[in-house]
């Protein structure tokens, strides 16, 4: 299963991608929202993990664009943010995210959310 990880922080990107690789996922990565939108279209991943605080265009706007495009709107998006603030979840869902999680990532919790959005698909 191919996941697109959109994350600007090098350390977070390296860490999360390696942890997901170990769980058997195929990972492609983008470092900002613009590249995220572009790669959603070119890679057509099974699911997108979208950090919300991103340079160029932020995760909310990138999600809106992905969900507005015919070719990519079916791809589930999980929004990730470090600010566990009330309203963040609603804001992410409003932008089109199918689910939402907070950083630091609890890997098992995140994988449960990925699996819930992709039932029946093995990693």
């Amino acid at each position: 299963m191919k996941l697109l990880l959109v994350e600007d922080n090098e350390m977070n990107r390296d860490m999360l991608s390696r942890r997901l690789l170990r769980r058997g996922y195929e990972i492609v990565m983008a470092v900002d929202g613009g590249q995220g939108v572009e790669m959603a279209g070119s890679e057509l991943p099974d699911l997108i993990l979208m950090d919300m605080s991103l340079p160029v265009i932020d995760g909310w706007e990138a999600t809106r664009r992905i969900k507005a495009a015919e070719a990519t709107r079916h791809i589930p998006v999980i929004g990730l943010t470090a600010h566990a603030m009330a309203g963040d979840r609603e804001k992410a869902i409003e932008a089109g995210c199918n689910d939402y999680d907070t950083k630091p990532v609890e890997l098992d919790r995140l994988i449960a959310k990925i699996e819930a959005l992709l039932p029946g698909k093995p990693a």
């Binding site: 860490m15 566990a84 630091p104």
Partner: protein, 150 residues
């Protein structure tokens, strides 16, 4: 007319700065303990020739140093708020986020190393790594719960 809101804002700022200072005081001891446990893990890993882990351990160590530097920087938040209010305002909004970022790294890389060291020469280092992760959780809990002003 503007006097009341301005002084109210200043009092608010003071209270926020005091809260940050109190938080940093509370973070100091577990932060220093975490850094020293990590140093010990690094030394032992080197002694055991665990070269594959060197990069990840260096990242963990760097994250600990970053955290400790932030704690020291904001331990005297009330003075920073008085001396450079504009800069203080700009930083305080994302201070908790900035403190969480290195802890996020410690936890993520630490978890991976615990997996890697489930067997082989790294195994005896697992306990110290687990202690590191417990301290990271303790620090995250302190950052998550703003201490109420009396």
């Amino acid at each position: 007319m503007t006097q009341t809101p301005t002084s109210f804002d200043a009092a608010d700022q003071d209270a926020a700065a005091l809260q940050v200072a109190a938080m940093c005081q509370a973070l100091r001891a577990p932060g220093a303990e975490m850094a020293s446990v990590v140093d010990k893990v690094c030394e032992q890993a080197q002694a055991r020739g665990l070269e594959d882990a060197a990069d990840d351990l260096a990242r963990i160590r760097k994250a600990c140093a970053r955290l400790c530097a932030l704690i020291e920087e904001f331990a005297d938040a009330p003075r920073a708020a008085r001396e450079n209010p504009a800069q203080w305002l700009a930083t305080q909004g994302h201070l908790r986020h900035d403190l969480r970022t290195p802890l996020n790294a410690v936890k993520g890389y630490g978890d991976m190393l615990i997996d890697d060291w489930s067997a082989g020469p790294g195994q005896p280092l697992q306990d110290d790594l687990r202690a590191t992760l417990r301290l990271a959780d303790q620090l995250l809990a302190l950052i998550a719960t703003p201490q109420e002003a009396p």
